[in-house]
């Protein structure tokens, strides 16, 4: 087996093909990355009432995220303590009990075992208080975004997110009522490694003019390169955005107006979006009101697209398979007809039917094939574009550079390497 130090070099400008394809590396990722990081589980808008639940995954581990009778949020592993079957088979819903189909052991939405139907026929009664669903030991939320972690000793979520909160708030706090997730996630299963979709939406706006040249006009890409900033607040967390000039017309700055729903959705939705922008300055300040985001990434596997408002989670299913989830996200306070138009800002270009992402997904699949070939291990992938050219900025927290600088990916892989080394040799 390869040593982790052989996978990613010191400055992370060279990344081995085996990072993407080796089953042993994947096992280290499970423990080193997914076992120790805050992982996105869902949004408060999905579970508003007691008994509401949605399914989530922490790597390959299925999790039920539910609001308990007392209003608290609980996350339990979706696997019966008796024989391991999932006790919840629906994407989302509202219930009082989760019942295992095999022998009908039943659990509360908080995960406590309440009924063993066979119990009355035996003399030694099992201690049900010790047989509840496995709890996710740490669950915390920020601005409605709920995360869980299997490591009890993990730092608090707010600290983990750090300065990413500054950039997330540029959007989340723009809307007085925050955001809302619409419906069940689109689950797309691709023969790709989970890290490439993450990298793609952590800061790789540089492929737009090339992979997507059939759809994205060159002028749009020129604006991105001219006004674009790439930021890393902490290795693995990053954002890209355009910082629009102070005198830019509202229609060029406003969130949502450049999507298909914004362009073709009619005057009502456009006026709604202009109105949000008109209040942006007082809500998020002058600097962030001028921000027109592109991509966001939260380590290890949460992504967020600004213009095509979508949250995405890249769930690994082995080194060569990913279950890629995406949701349309809209302002919670918008009237229903406006939400229905704004969700097409996502679905027109992204998701399994999207015009842009059909190109991305093919790139991700082909990259996995390239990572799995023999006789090319002396050609690790080159991640050196813009090496060392990032630096501090007078107004923007984190390290800042042009969007062509691949420092967002180098920082991701440096953190990933450290995470794997922390568990390498332990077992």
């Amino acid at each position: 087996m390869l040593r982790v130090s052989e996978l990613v070099n010191e400055d992370a400008s060279l990344v081995s093909r085996r990072c993407w394809s080796d089953p042993g590396v994947y096992e280290l990722e499970k423990r080193g990355v997914f076992g120790r990081s805050w992982l996105f589980l869902g949004h408060e808008s999905q579970i508003r009432n007691p008994g509401d639940f949605v399914q989530a995954y922490m790597c390959e581990t299925p999790v039920i995220l539910a609001r308990g009778e007392g209003g608290r949020v609980h996350a339990s592993v979706n696997s019966c303590t008796h024989r391991g079957l999932p006790v919840c088979r629906a994407d989302h819903g509202n219930t009082r009990r989760f019942v295992c189909p095999y022998h009908n052991w039943s659990y509360t939405v908080e995960g406590d075992l309440v009924t063993i139907p066979q119990e009355s026929e035996v003399r030694n009664k099992p201690d049900k208080s010790r047989l509840g669903l496995k709890r996710v030991p740490r669950v915390e939320s920020w601005r409605g975004l709920i995360f869980g972690c299997f490591d009890e000793a993990v730092e608090p979520l707010e600290q983990y997110l750090g300065d990413m909160r500054f950039y997330l708030d540029a959007l989340l706090d723009r809307f007085p009522g925050g955001i809302e997730f619409m419906g069940a996630p689109h689950r797309w299963v691709l023969d790709a490694n989970w890290k490439l979709p993450v990298e793609n939406q952590l800061g790789d706006v540089n492929h737009g003019a090339f992979l997507h040249s059939a759809i994205i006009p060159r002028e749009a890409q020129d604006t991105i390169e001219e006004l674009g900033h790439s930021v890393v607040t902490r290795p693995g967390h990053g954002a890209t955005f355009r910082l629009m000039p102070g005198d830019a017309p509202v229609d060029e700055v406003a969130w949502g107006l450049e999507g298909m729903g914004g362009i073709f959705g009619g005057a009502e939705v456009q006026d709604y979006l202009r109105d949000i922008q008109a209040r942006a300055r007082e809500r998020v300040g002058d600097l962030r009101a001028r921000m027109k985001g592109l991509t966001y990434g939260i380590y290890p596997n949460l992504s967020f697209l600004w213009s095509n408002t979508s949250f995405k989670v890249s769930h690994p299913r082995g080194p060569g398979k990913v279950e890629y989830w995406s949701w349309a996200v809209v302002p919670a306070e918008a009237p229903d007809p406006i939400k229905q138009i704004l969700r097409t800002n996502y679905s027109s270009f992204f998701g399994p039917g999207g015009m842009l992402e059909q190109e991305d997904s093919e790139a991700w699949v082909q990259q996995f094939r390239g990572s799995n070939i023999d006789f090319a291990d002396d050609r690790p992938y080159f991640y050196g574009l813009g090496l060392g050219e990032e630096g501090p900025h007078p107004e923007l927290p984190g390290l800042v550079s042009v969007t062509a600088n691949e420092f967002y990916a180098r920082h991701f892989f440096a953190r990933w390497r450290d995470d794997l080394q922390a568990v390498e040799g332990l077992s």
């Binding site: 989302h92 040249s213 059939a214 969700r343 679905s347 015009m355 190109e359």
Partner: protein, 186 residues
């Protein structure tokens, strides 16, 4: 649309089949520009997403309990359909297909579709509601081979003895989406 289809004369059924088979041939032959001519400019092209819901105890024993409709997040829902498109979306998709840099279809996928179970469900003036099913074989060079299966719920307009597609809702049969794209014209 759970009732029986309308009784139609063989000649009328044949005219509808002729339209759908012609459409299928255009699409499999990648003659998308000619296909676009079959589309009304006010078209709505919808692909609901399909969810896995809990069984509602109060509905046990009733057809509603396991109906297809309750699984769908369509255009009227507050969920998120996979596609909700108008003429402009379809036009961009067609234009893309004839550009040299539509990378995921370069070289293009080979497709073959069988359209069947064509039922005329309702007619109102020059508008007709139809159901049809399809199976589509999709082979992407460097990718793999995939089967697409679904139902189409169409509204056709009768225009000068020919048909135009005014609305199409594509109900895909999937659990997880394990095909390379749902961006095809189905």
């Amino acid at each position: 649309m759970s009732g029986q289809s309308l009784k139609v004369k063989p000649r009328q059924q044949r005219a509808l089949e002729r339209f759908y088979f012609h459409e299928a041939r255009l699409l499999d032959n990648r003659q998308y520009q000619q296909w676009l001519e079959l589309v009304d400019e006010d078209i709505r092209y919808i692909m609901p997403s399909r969810t896995n819901l809990m069984v509602d105890n109060r509905e046990r024993g009733k057809e509603q309990m396991i109906s297809v409709e309750r699984e769908l997040e369509g255009s009227e829902s507050m969920g998120c359909p996979l596609r909700e498109e108008g003429y402009v979306h379809l036009m961009v998709r067609v234009e893309r297909a004839f550009k040299i840099n539509a990378w995921s279809e370069n070289p293009p996928a080979r497709t073959r579709r069988i359209v069947g179970n064509i039922e005329l469900m309702n007619r109102d003036g020059n508008q007709m509601q139809l159901l049809s099913n399809f199976h589509l074989y999709y082979a992407r060079p460097g990718g793999g081979n995939f089967i697409y299966s679904g139902q189409r719920r169409d509204t056709l307009l009768l225009v000068a003895h020919d048909f135009r597609i005014r609305r199409r809702e594509v109900i895909m049969d999937y659990a997880n989406i394990d095909v390379p794209t749902l961006g095809l014209i189905l």
